[in-house]
Amino acid sequence: MSPTNNTSFGALALELRDVRKSFGKTEIIRGTSLSVRAGERVAIIGPNGAGKSTLFNLISGRMPATSGSILLNGQNIQGKKPFEINRLGLSRSFQITNIFPKLSVFENLRCSVLYSLGYGYTFLKFLVDLDDANARAQELMELIGLDKKRDVVALNLTYAEQRALEVGITIAGGANVILLDEPTAGMSKSETTRFIALIKQVTEGKTLLTVEHDMGVVFGLADRIAVLVYGEVIAFDTPDAVRASARVQEAYLGSSVADAQVGASEQGH
């Protein structure tokens, strides 16, 4: 899998400059800097407790950074509320499925498209009359493969279906910077493969930042990989370069990389 030529990516979609986050006296994120270009797919990997979810929470505005700046499409989003950040074009999914459990699949998706279609907090129109919202929700449903479960209440879906719905909700608003937090967590091998194909399809042309543990997924999906260890990015490069990096191997990948290298050399790579 060869990464796309770096120069084909556009301006910086997301930029982190020396971001730090402390909880009391413990510093979780220690001066992380990251530049993600528009249209790029970046995977963040790292051992448990490295701060990957915290980083997502900082970017999406769920918690404030202690210092440093975060820029979305060149605009500083530090201190903005999550819904303000979302309106500026960033959307995220969650590690623990975060959908609207008592609404149906269709309603889940329809709610997610309302703001981007300009409907605001209105109570003077009827949902059934919003043709564009209904059409878009239908489109999304078919895209994520849940159109047969249109009226099923979300909490009655299977786990994989709920994860798919979550992705649907995440991309529904048309955000161009997508954050996916461990999208394939808890899925079987076959489910994962199908799910990654779905993610690739729905994030076509968008900037994607994803936290992942599954190395197969990471090396197949990402244009660049950022390795986060103890709140610091120790490597940010193409998959091959990361795989070959001694520092990364030492800090994180360990034997799994050694095996991969052996496997690669056996194939005459």
Binding site: F83, F100, K102, E107, F123, D151, V152, I169, G173
Partner: protein, 425 residues
């Protein structure tokens, strides 16, 4: 599918509802009945507006009476000040109440809806106490001990309607009730209505689809305040007097209790709750002094057994019957119902007897119970009823277990069918 169904609901159903309201005073035509029907209309609007917060928005408020009550006060002042001269037609007084309710909701709600969940509940409690305590301090507005009275026959009578007779007031209330119910249903079919549900289910997720959950809650709070104020205005016209208890904790508690009892998870649940509320306050309190105890106990049992209220029980059975399984359950249902009679009667008899001994001992030892006389002085009587309670309770448990077995079987069968059909409903 007819689009109007998805906008304001089934027109057929509303027609039936309207017909029922039209015919009710003809069937129940005593003076007491007509007043009760009027009160039911008022209560329906109040409880539905309350459920906009509780059931649709997940906002547990202990102070909804503030908005119905303030709406009532403003209405009666408006009636006194502007209806005599004909500036404000009596029939529009409730709208004034609605606007007042909306204004107060906008004012208080700004602070109240900043938080959600348990904190929100406590804040509404505090604000309710604040308003009630202030009601004693501003007699110019709240009328002091005696409250504020008004005359709904004020102003010119259009088409001969003076609103003097109870019937005329009833029909005015009925029209308002129908319109408000339809409007509140329509609200649930709008973007804000659906977003309110989303905020109830997952406020954090709502932020990540571009909406501010606080603003959703605040806007809904104001709309609920509008309908609450209309209810207050209707009540003011009905009783022609408003005093401080309309903003009191007891009334707020009543809205909560009965909306929950009726069922907060379905739109029509609060309607059932409102009807029960009027029946309890007006009728039940006449039959027994223990009615508040019964209310508390029934409520507690409901929370433990059926937190979705009576509406959810109805809908569960509707679902079962839609799959054709209800007929098979009827024998088990019947047995359980029959077995419940004896222990329930025995328990209420015991309660009535205890109450009689404690509160009415001076009136002798006999207490009337469904036409029978129970002797609270006779130990034999106590033992006999106690025995009925124990035996009856045991029989009921057996019948209930048998029913549960049949019910679970029916549910499993339904599960299998839905799996086959692909998971929809």
């Amino acid at each position: 599918m007819n689009r109007w169904n998805a906008r304001i609901g089934s027109l057929r159903l509303w027609a039936v509802f309207a017909a029922l309201m039209l015919l009710a005073p003809k069937v129940f035509n005593s003076g007491l009945s007509v007043t009760m029907l009027s009160q039911m209309g008022v209560a329906i609007v109040a409880c539905l507006s309350y459920n906009m917060l509780l059931g649709q928005g997940g906002m547990l408020s202990f102070g909804h009476a503030v908005y119905t009550g303030l709406g009532a006060f403003v209405s009666i002042h408006a009636l006194n000040m502007y209806s005599g001269s004909g500036v404000l037609p009596v029939s529009l007084v409730p709208v004034v109440g609605g606007l007042a309710g909306m204004a107060f909701a906008a004012l208080f709600g700004y602070v109240t809806t900043r938080k959600s969940g348990t904190t929100f509940a406590m804040i509404t409690l505090g604000m309710a106490e604040l308003v009630f305590a202030m009601s004693l301090m501003v007699p110019e507005f709240f009328g002091g001990e005696g409250g504020v009275s008004g005359n709904r026959m004020a102003g010119p009578a259009t088409w001969g309607i003076t609103f003097g007779p109870a019937n005329q007031v009833y029909y005015l209330i009925a029209v308002y009730t129908l319109v408000c119910v339809v409007l509140m249903y329509a609200f649930t079919q709008t973007p804000l209505g659906r977003l309110l549900n989303a905020v109830r289910d997952n406020p954090e997720r709502v932020e990540f689809i571009g909406y501010n959950p606080q603003r959703v809650r605040y806007t809904a709070f104001i709309i609920a305040g509008f309908f609450a104020g209309i209810s207050g205005g209707l009540g003011a016209l009905n009783f022609e007097i408003v005093n401080a208890e309309v903003v009191g904790a007891a009334r707020s508690g009543g809205y909560l209790l009965f909306t929950f009892l009726g069922g907060a998870t379905f739109f029509f649940g609060p309607i059932i709750g409102a009807v029960l509320m009027v029946l309890a306050f007006v009728l039940l309190s006449e039959f027994t002094q223990a009615w508040l105890l019964y209310l508390g106990l029934v409520f507690m049992v409901m929370v433990m057994v059926a937190p979705g209220g009576i509406a959810s029980l109805i809908m569960l059975n509707v679902r079962v019957s839609r799959y054709g399984k209800l007929r098979a359950l009827l024998p088990a249902y019947g047995l359980m119902a029959a077995a419940a009679v004896a222990p329930l009667l025995a328990a209420t008899a015991l309660v009535e007897m205890v109450y009689h001994r404690q509160l009415n001992a001076s009136m002798g030892t006999q207490v009337a119970f469904f036409g029978m006389g129970l002797d609270t002085g006779s130990a034999g009587c106590w033992l006999a009823i106690g025995a009925v309670l124990v035996v009856g309770g045991w029989t009921f448990t057996l019948a209930q277990r048998r029913f549960a077995v049949h019910w679970d079987l029916a549910q499993e069968a339904i599960e299998r069918e839905t799996q086959r059909a692909g998971g929809a409903l």
